[in-house]
Amino acid sequence: MDWSGPAWSLPPSRSSACSTRPFQTTLDPRAALRWQAWKGGTLKGGTGLHHQAPQDQVLAFLDEPSGFQRTWASEVGIEQDLWKQGSIDLTVFQRESTQRFVLHPNLEDPDTDPFFVAEGLGRARGLEVMLRKDPVGPLSGWVSYTLSRSERLDDPSDPDNPWILFDFDQTHILTATGQWRLPHDVILSGRYQYVTGNPKTAYVGAVADLDAASWTGVLSGDENGERFAPYSSLDLRASKLWTFRSWQLDTFIDLLGVVQGQNPTGEIQAYDFSEALLIEGLPLIPSIGFEATVRF
C-alpha cells in the first residue's frame, strides 16, 4: 500500500515490522510522512517502535524467554533544494528506550537472583545536518554534521543513580567530502572527518595484591566521565583516467591521514594504573594503484 499524492506520502516500507524469536513475537508499528510544503521544500517526520532482542552475552544468563528492549524513535526534519545545485537536510531526532537489560543492581544471591534484569532506561537525542553539492559542474561533495547525546540509566529505582553516557556516545561527528573534476580526466578528491572521542572511566588509584605482586585498578565513581582524544583525519586522492582505443587505465594515489590528530584506539595502563599511554592510530599511509578496463 502506498499512500502518496502530489504533496503527501507515506512510504510503505516503513509502515510496520515484525520480529519473531522462539516463543516471542513483537509488532513494531512505524509511520513516516513527507510533505512537500513549498517548491523545493519538504517537511518530514516519523515515529515508530523498535524491539531489540537481548545480546548473546545476556541471553546466556537468562533461564527463560525474556522480553525485548523497546525503543520509541521519532524524528522531524526539513529538506530544501538549493537552486538545482544541491540540497540541505536538517533532522532532529529522539529515542527513548525501556526494558534495557542491565546487571542486576541489587544482586544478593547469585543462586536465585538473575544476573540481568530488563529495568534499564536509555535515551538519545540530537540533530543532523547535511549539505550536498550535486555533481553539477566540476565541483561536488557534501558536509554532514551530527550533534548528539546518548545516555543510560541502569537503576531507575535509585534516585541517586545518575544518567551516564553510553560507551560509544559521540557528541560531534563532522564529515566533509569533496571532488574536483579537472580537464583530461583528472580528479582531485578529499575527505575530512572529526569525531568526539569515546567516553571512558578514569582510574583513581590501584590496590596491590601483595601475594600475587599484581595490581587492580580502582575506577572513578564518575562512570564514563572522561573521554579519549577526538579522532580527526584528512584523506586526499588524485586520479587520472587514461583512455585508449579498446581499454582504459585508471591510476590513482591515495594519501590517508595527511593531517590527523592522536586518534587513540585504546590505552595501556602502567603497572599501578598511575598513568597510561595512548595507542595511537595509523600514521600517514600513501598508496598508489591502477584499474584497467578492457573491451573485447
Binding site: G205, L210, D211, Y271, L277, I279, E280, T293, V294, F296
Partner: protein
C-alpha cells in the same frame, strides 16, 4: 562487447604502525611511596593460632612510613575502599580493634589470631585446604609527609587444618655481580651493569600436597617468584644498571612462593 576490469593497489606504504608515545614507569624502579611486600609469620596458620605481620615499604629519601593494617570482611577492606589515610583514620577514631584494626606500623606491630571457628562452615574434606583471611594495608608518608599520597594493598593469610602448613621461603644470600650479600649489607658497586641472582633459589621451593575439589590428592612444587626493586638505575631482566657513579640508594629483592609465603632482602648500595 565484453568488459574485463583488473584492479591492483600496486603499493601501500605505512610510514609506521599503530604506536604509543613515551614510556610507562617500571614496577621495579622505585620513585614514590610503595608497599613492596607483606609477610605473615607463620605463613599459614590453624584456627586460633597467632600470626605476626609485617610489611616492606619504600619511601624516597628513606623517611618514615606509617602502615595501617586492618581486617577485611567479606572481601571488603574499609580503608582501602574509602581510600582514607592512616592519620585521619586514627584521628577520627575510626580504626580500633573492634572495627578491625590489626596494627599500625611502626608504632603498633600488627598481630592477629585466626578466628577459632573460621573453618567451621567448610565441609571436613575442605578444611585441610582451608580458607584465607584478607588484610587491607594503607601506607602513607607519616607522620611527616604528604598524607594525600596513600598506597593501598591487600595481603591474604591462609588458614587451614593442614598437617603440613606452608612456610615462608628463606632468602639468605643474594649475588650482585660477583658480590654475595645478605639483607642489611652495604655494597660498593661499579657503575656498570650487574647480573642479579638469588642464591639457593631452587632450595626455597617446597613440595606440598594439594587436595582438589573432587578429593584427589596431588603433589605439587612451588614456583618461586623473584622481583627486584631499586631507586637507582634501570633493570633489564635479571640485569641491573645502577646508573652513574656517585649514586646511593637501595636494592631490594622479594621472593614469593605463590601460596602466601614471602621473604625479602634489602641492601644499601653506593656506586663508585
Amino acid at each position: 562487447m565484453r568488459i574485463v576490469s583488473l584492479g591492483l593497489v600496486a603499493l601501500a606504504l605505512a610510514i609506521g604502525t599503530a604506536c604509543t608515545d613515551g614510556e610507562l614507569p617500571s614496577e621495579s624502579e622505585l620513585d614514590r611511596l610503595r608497599i613492596l611486600a607483606a609477610r605473615a609469620t607463620p605463613a599459614e596458620v590453624a584456627p586460633g593460632e597467632l600470626v605476626q605481620l609485617e610489611s616492606l615499604t619504600f619511601r624516597p629519601g628513606s623517611g618514615p612510613v606509617g602502615v595501617v593494617w586492618e581486617l577485611c570482611t567479606s572481601m571488603e577492606c574499609p580503608s582501602v575502599e574509602r581510600r582514607s589515610d592512616p592519620a585521619s583514620l586514627l584521628d577520627e577514631g575510626e580504626l580500633d580493634p573492634q572495627a578491625g584494626l590489626i596494627g599500625l606500623e611502626p608504632e603498633l606491630p600488627p598481630m592477629f589470631a585466626a578466628p577459632p571457628g573460621v573453618l567451621d562452615a567448610l565441609p571436613a574434606s575442605e578444611q585441610e585446604e582451608g580458607t584465607f583471611v584478607r588484610f587491607g594495608l594503607s601506607a602513607v608518608a607519616w607522620p611527616d609527609g604528604d598524607t594525600e599520597e596513600v598506597e593501598w594493598a591487600t595481603k591474604d593469610l591462609p588458614v587451614s587444618a593442614s598437617s603440613t602448613p606452608n612456610t615462608n621461603p628463606v632468602l639468605s644470600t643474594v649475588r650482585v655481580g660477583v658480590e654475595d650479600a645478605v639483607s642489611g649489607d652495604a655494597l660498593l658497586l661499579a657503575a656498570r651493569e650487574h647480573e642479579l641472582e638469588v642464591v639457593g633459589l631452587d632450595a626455597m621451593a617446597e613440595s606440598y600436597t594439594y587436595r582438589t575439589t573432587d578429593g584427589t590428592v596431588e603433589t605439587r612444587e612451588e614456583t618461586i617468584d623473584v622481583r627486584w626493586y631499586s631507586d637507582l638505575g634501570s633493570f633489564d631482566g635479571s640485569f641491573w644498571d645502577p646508573g652513574p657513579s656517585g649514586g646511593s640508594g637501595s636494592l631490594i629483592v622479594v621472593v614469593r612462593d605463590g601460596r602466601g609465603g614471602t621473604d625479602w632482602a634489602v641492601l644499601q648500595v653506593e656506586i663508585e
